[in-house]
């Protein structure tokens, strides 16, 4: 037992310094700053949607359909008082205010991105640890994952949503499932390389029980790559959610999501391109921001991956 700290100390001493350096580098990386700032902006926009000069995003108004951006009208509140309102981004074919819908739409995108990333990383981590560590299960799990990965991700997601009733939950499940095998592969490959390291062999020799071994020595090695991978999953989840909504198989059209607003604007696109333009710009900016953050995280946290 006395051998354990002696062998482990140097390994930890080597691992520690770059981590602190990485955090400092992280905050100076332009991609992290710009990407992170934009994500913060979109998140705050979604949270603060009710106080950002919006009106009810679901309110249908037959008299003011398909108005161009900048149109002004008077709004009558429930108590009879009136106030002027400017449709900054115009209205859609049901007379709903596009600005309000776009602002509220940030909620679904951010929520889906973060939830999908968290769930798929958590599940993938668990399966990956098992596959990498329990030899006899490895073959079975990985063949199953190969099969899942052979189905193109968007196609699998589209097929999966057809199994459930349309809604936020089924969309999240449908996007999570195709992402899991990619996380599993990553975690498994890390586990396989880490388990050959001298400090892991030493810990095994010292009689560390397997769960403790996984948590204490294997898990920390997966953190940085998983943060990076999770960020890219978040970006792709936001895109896939928008695609599903756009195709009409995602979140029900009453809920304002960027994909839904664009789906709504499809038929009258030639005359009123603003229904596609505004949500499209917000969607692209958000995904761009998450991707920039991911690239920055990869460069700083995971130097081995940065070369690729």
């Amino acid at each position: 037992m006395s051998a354990e700290p002696v062998i482990l100390a140097p390994a930890e001493a080597i691992a520690a310094p770059p981590r602190f350096g990485a955090w400092r580098k992280l905050l100076r990386h332009p991609g992290v700053l710009i990407g992170g700032g934009l994500i913060l902006f979109m998140t705050l926009m979604g949270i603060l949607a009710p106080v950002l000069g919006t009106i009810n995003p679901a309110e249908i108004n037959p008299t003011f359909r398909n108005r161009v951006p900048g149109m002004e009208r008077t709004i009558r509140a429930d108590d009879g008082s009136t106030r002027p309102y400017k449709h900054l981004m115009g209205t859609d074919s049901l007379g709903r205010d596009v600005y309000s819908r776009v602002v509220y739409g940030a909620r679904v995108s951010i929520l889906v991105g973060v939830t999908v990333a968290t769930i798929s990383v958590a599940i993938g981590l668990l399966i990956g640890l098992v596959a990498g560590y329990v030899r006899w299960l490895d073959g079975i799990i990985m063949r199953f994952m190969d099969g899942l990965m052979a189905i193109p991700a968007i196609l699998l997601a589209i097929a999966l949503v057809s199994l459930f009733r349309a809604g936020l939950f089924s969309v999240i499940v449908a996007i999570v499932v195709p992402e899991i095998p990619r996380v599993v592969r990553l975690v498994r490959s890390i586990v396989l390389s880490v388990r050959e390291e001298p400090y892991v062999e030493a810990a095994i020799m010292a009689g560390t029980p397997t769960p403790a071994l996984l948590v204490r020595h294997v898990l920390p090695n997966t953190v940085a790559p998983l943060i990076v991978q999770g960020t890219f999953i978040c970006a792709s989840a936001i895109l896939v959610e928008a695609i599903l909504s756009f195709l009409g198989v995602g979140i029900p059209p009453e809920t304002p999501t960027w994909g839904n607003i664009m789906a709504e604007g499809r038929s009258l696109f030639r005359v009123y391109p603003h229904n596609i333009l505004f949500p499209g710009v917000f969607l692209a900016l958000t995904v761009l921001a998450v991707n920039m953050l991911g690239d920055g995280l990869r460069d700083t946290l995971d130097p081995k991956m940065a070369k690729r």
Binding site: D146, A150, I154, I243, M262
Partner: protein, 313 residues
């Protein structure tokens, strides 16, 4: 080589078998009795029972799976619930636009992306490099339907160069066929270009540091020949790999692009089938796309020998 080919081909069988099991289970998870759906609303219990026996739906689930697999291997994908045709007929009718779109996209993507990636690698660290990399990140981030509508707006509505939407079969003239194909192909190629250019750049940068590049320079070889003959050829393996893996992105993009441009292809069929909950069609399309994806990546593996004679099978 031939033996290796057979071994690799055999290795795809378990993967496809797992895909088939997943797809089969997916249909079994769905609510509703397929026999009742096929029989229609006016059928009586006897007719439904008859269909159930004919389709083997009264058998145990394992037996059903083998019946279904047997049918698949004979090219029988079942009958569409919604379109009232056999799924095989349905797919055959939708094949041409999708193949045309995919081939045209790959052609555009490779001809644009590879030189772009080589250029970025050669000018590594300059504004050209940053521009290409910036475009690449943009290409990953802007959704394919936003690109599609932006291009329609610019080239079809404002400039009036090409028709807005639609598809014309090749048999009705090459000009009209190409005219309607070009915009969707460019749209779809953006993300693919981003992917390939990025990998080309990384791969060429790595090769440019090799000794034989210095040797080629020392003997006075022209830069363009160094880049495209010496460097690119040696950098080709990862590039070809990413072209193969990118087919998954391409297939996802086909589904969206065909919807934006109202092209009556397999992608549009997939969306229609999902909206109509037409499970036999969904199953067949997924199996077909997955098979194509797996086979293309098998082909990619075999192409390695052309680029790298050190790889021997």
């Amino acid at each position: 080589m031939f033996l290796y080919f057979l071994r690799r081909l055999a290795a795809t069988i378990p993967v496809m078998l797992i895909v088939a099991v997943l797809v089969f289970l997916m249909l079994r998870l769905t609510p509703g009795d397929p026999a009742a759906i096929i029989a229609g609303d006016n059928a009586n219990a006897e007719q439904v029972a008859l269909i159930r026996t004919r389709l083997g739906l009264d058998q145990p689930i394992i037996v059903q799976f083998f019946i279904w697999m047997g049918n698949l291997l004979r090219g029988d994908f079942g009958e569409s619930f919604f379109f009232k045709k056999t799924v095989a007929e349905l797919i055959l009718g939708r094949l041409e636009p999708t193949i045309a779109l995919a081939l045209c996209t790959i052609l555009i993507a490779v001809t644009v992306a590879v030189p772009l990636g080589v250029l970025a690698a050669y000018k590594q660290g300059t504004w050209i490099d940053r521009l290409v990399m910036g475009f690449s990140v943009m290409g990953f981030s802007v959704p394919v339907f936003v690109i599609g509508y932006a291009l329609i707006y610019l080239f079809a509505i404002k400039l009036n160069w090409v028709p807005v939407q639609g598809y014309q079969p090749l048999s009705q003239g090459f000009g009209g066929f190409l005219q309607r194909l070009i915009l969707p192909s460019v749209t779809l190629s953006v993300i693919y270009i981003a992917l390939i250019a990025r990998m080309t750049r990384a791969s060429v940068i790595e090769v440019l540091g090799e000794d034989y590049i210095r040797t080629a320079r020392a003997k006075g070889q022209v830069e363009s020949k160094i880049l495209f003959r010496h460097a690119l050829k040696n950098a080709a393996v990862p590039i070809v790999t990413v072209i193969g893996l990118g087919v998954a992105l391409l297939i996802g993009g086909v589904v969206v692009t065909e919807s934006v441009f109202t092209i009556p292809g397999l992608g549009r069929l997939t969306v229609d089938a999902v909206l109509a909950r037409d499970y036999p069609t969904i199953q067949a399309v997924i199996l077909l796309f997955s098979l194509v994806y797996v086979l293309i990546n098998l082909a990619v593996d075999l192409v390695y020998t052309l680029f790298d004679p050190r790889i021997r099978y």
